[in-house]
């Protein structure tokens, strides 16, 4: 490992062992478990997982937006080398919407229904910049134009209910871009939209981030979205990142059986990578375990065809290729297909 200082120069975001827990009657439940990953400026990271895997909570944790009974239990979050954990509320407030912006899933719910678009945009500018209202309005107008909203001047004076879902999400994206943040966290922002609109927005987000040099974390359950968008991928299961690597590595030669399972249950055509076309979908057997009652060791082992008694202690970090890491006792060899009860054959 090189010295932290040298690494921080190229690294926009560096997350280490980030852990978020929820207080419940039956004791604390860990929703985000020792997450570690990095993001470079201008890079797009896909954070993939099923619902309940802790991917949305990761987004909230990065912005310190975890509501009680949840709390961030430990770890470190550094933005351009600056430690964010433990910052006072005032500093967080200054950071949010300025250096780190977030976009939410449902555009029908994220905009306040009783405030006009201009109000909701101008307040975001004025919260972080000493500008006049006219200057802020000018910025808002420019941001709407940038995300491809026609007749931006008129839209500014509209209420959210007067816009379509796609328009509303563009407005939310424009709000996120207003103060030219270093990092944007997008929590499934296209899930609620039509496929054609989804594709447009994906393309635009990609372009905007490249142009502005902002880092983007795209949270989704949909591997096909990640395939066309992200540079690197993190796969989450039961609160942990079980595999991470470049998009090509993770999608083409997954090392973790869970990633393989996710790929096998995604229509191949949607992945646009061409491999395994025409094969039948194979869903992962069983269901994700509740966070309050995780299996011991590797949380995936009850659903895993490769599992054996070795999987009961916590799994080690395997590194099948440079930059690709998987949390698994029995990682898949490059290019291997997951088949039948072959698990014991692979066991050392």
């Amino acid at each position: 490992m090189s010295t932290p200082a040298a690494q921080d120069l190229q690294t926009l975001l560096r997350v280490e062992r980030l852990t978020t827990r929820f207080r419940t009657r039956g004791g604390d439940v860990t929703a985000v478990n020792e997450l570690s990953f990095e993001l470079a400026a201008g890079e797009i990271l896909g954070l993939v997982g099923e619902s309940g895997s802790g991917k949305s909570m990761t987004g909230y944790s990065l912005l310190d937006l975890v509501d009680p009974p949840g709390y961030i239990a430990g770890g470190s979050v550094r933005l351009r080398g600056r430690e964010l954990r433990g910052l006072p509320a005032k500093d967080w407030q200054a950071l949010r919407g300025d250096r780190i912006a977030m976009i939410f899933q449902d555009p029908m719910l994220t905009l306040n229904p009783v405030l006009r678009i201009d109000t909701q945009m101008v307040e975001t500018v004025l919260a972080h910049r000493r500008l006049t209202r006219a200057e802020a309005l000018h910025r808002a107008h420019a941001a709407l134009v940038r995300v491809g909203i026609p007749a931006a001047g008129e839209r500014l004076r509209s209420y959210p209910h007067q816009l379509s879902g796609g328009m509303r999400q563009r407005v939310a994206i424009a709000i996120a871009l207003l103060n030219e943040p270093d990092l944007i966290i997008a929590d499934e922002p296209t899930t609620a939209l039509d496929v054609t609109i989804q594709a447009q927005i994906l393309y635009e987000m990609q372009t905007l981030c490249r142009e502005a040099g902002a880092g983007l974390i795209w949270i989704t359950h949909d591997l096909s979205v990640v395939a066309g968008l992200a540079d690197r991928v993190c796969v989450m299961y039961a609160g942990r990142i079980v595999e991470q690597g470049s998009t090509a590595q993770v999608l083409e030669s997954p090392a973790h059986p869970y990633t393989r399972g996710l790929l096998d249950s995604t229509p191949a055509a949607a992945l646009a990578r061409g491999h395994r076309r025409g094969e039948a979908l194979r869903p992962i057997p069983g269901a994700a375990p509740p966070l309050a009652a995780l299996p011991a060791g590797c949380a995936f082992h009850p659903r895993c065809a490769r599992a054996d008694e070795q999987c009961l202690p916590p799994p080690p970090q395997a590194e099948p290729a440079s930059g690709q890491r998987a949390l698994c006792w029995h990682p898949l060899p490059p290019g291997a297909a997951l088949s039948g009860p072959a698990a014991s054959l692979e066991a050392p």
Binding site: T110, V114, L115
Partner: protein, 326 residues
């Protein structure tokens, strides 16, 4: 908008007509005011003369027809007791009741919204729980008994505030108002607090539950993600959303404030229309009772009209359409 107003106006006239019929027949069908008005030792001729003078010798439907024709000219008949026009009698006392009801409404809103907001933002704190427990008490306490307790504590034992009456009044626009002077405010405080108590509890509950609900909404989380100050999130994003149901309910409750002022006015000897109604009921002064009821119906329908317009002004999602009126 114009169509909407026209429709509502037509509805109001309709309701007034039906109510006048119901009230008139109801009031006139029972009891004989002559027994009350005429000296028991009067001769039959005397009684007949009084009956003819008041129009009470005619059949009910003739009396109603005459009443309606007069009502259309703004004449709701003369009070049997005072001999002056019933409407004039009521209008003379209306300012007192309006002052009382508006003061009560202000107390309920100006105290209830901050308290409800506080309790909604800190539902698990001791202060939040105390506020909510207090609001339950506010629903349970009978208004008239609270009035007595207020008099006992603040007038009798502490001697801070007067126990009744309006204080000196000043004439503006031909009506007598008491809130133009400090003495008037001293007089209105206790009765207004008494009348406000139930509405205060209501506003606290509405605001509290509205706040708790709003805080869970995505738009509040998004506002936080935008880096807005907590004061702006609560003061603009949350408040503007909860004001809609609060204004609607409070507006509609203004009518009940006026109706319930009967109780408060009789405890605090407040010379408003509630006290007048009470006296008129016990003394069978029919024209005054009828005029009071028609006025109340009119106020009710006007209030619901104002509330609808306000609602549309506050909530951009609502459009006042001609067909939406019912």
């Amino acid at each position: 908008m114009t169509l909407f107003l026209l429709r509502r106006l037509l509805q109001t006239v309709n309701v007034l007509f039906i109510m006048s019929l119901l009230v008139f027949v109801g009031i006139y069908a029972v009891g004989n005011p002559l027994d009350m008005l005429v000296d028991p030792q009067a001769t039959r001729a005397d009684v007949a003369r009084v009956a003819a003078a008041l129009g009470l010798d005619q059949p009910v439907w003739v009396q109603y027809g005459r009443f309606l024709a007069n009502a259309l000219r703004g004449d709701l008949g003369n009070s049997f007791l005072h001999g002056t026009p019933a409407l004039q009698l009521i209008l003379q006392r209306l300012p007192a009741t309006l002052e009382l009801a508006v003061s009560a409404l202000l107390i309920a809103v100006l105290l209830g919204i901050p308290l409800g907001l506080w309790a909604g933002l800190r539902p698990d704190s001791a202060s939040g729980k105390t506020i909510m427990a207090g609001s339950i008490l506010g629903f349970s306490l009978p208004t008239f008994w609270v009035g007595l307790m207020l008099i006992m504590v603040f007038s009798v034992y502490l001697g801070w505030l007067p126990s009744g009456g309006r204080g000196p009044t000043r004439e503006v626009l031909g009506m007598h108002w008491s809130l133009l002077g400090a003495e008037g405010w001293r007089h209105v405080l206790l009765p207004a607090l008494n009348l406000a108590l139930f509405k205060l509890a209501l506003v606290i509950r509405l605001t509290q539950s509205g706040t708790r609900e709003a805080l869970l909404q995505d738009y509040v989380r998004f506002a936080r993600a935008k880096g807005l100050a907590p004061r702006r999130i609560v003061g603009v994003h949350v408040l503007k959303n909860i004001m809609i149901p609060v204004i609607t309910v409070v507006g509609l409750e203004f009518g009940t404030l006026i109706a319930f002022s009967v109780v408060t006015e009789s405890i605090f000897a407040w010379p408003g229309i509630g006290k007048l109604l009470l006296d008129s009921i016990t003394l069978l002064d029919r024209p005054v009772v009828v005029a009071y009821l028609l006025l109340i119906v009119l106020i009710y329908t006007l209030i619901s009209l104002v509330v609808d317009v306000l609602y549309a002004a506050l909530d951009p999602r609502v459009r006042l359409a001609g067909g939406q009126a019912a």
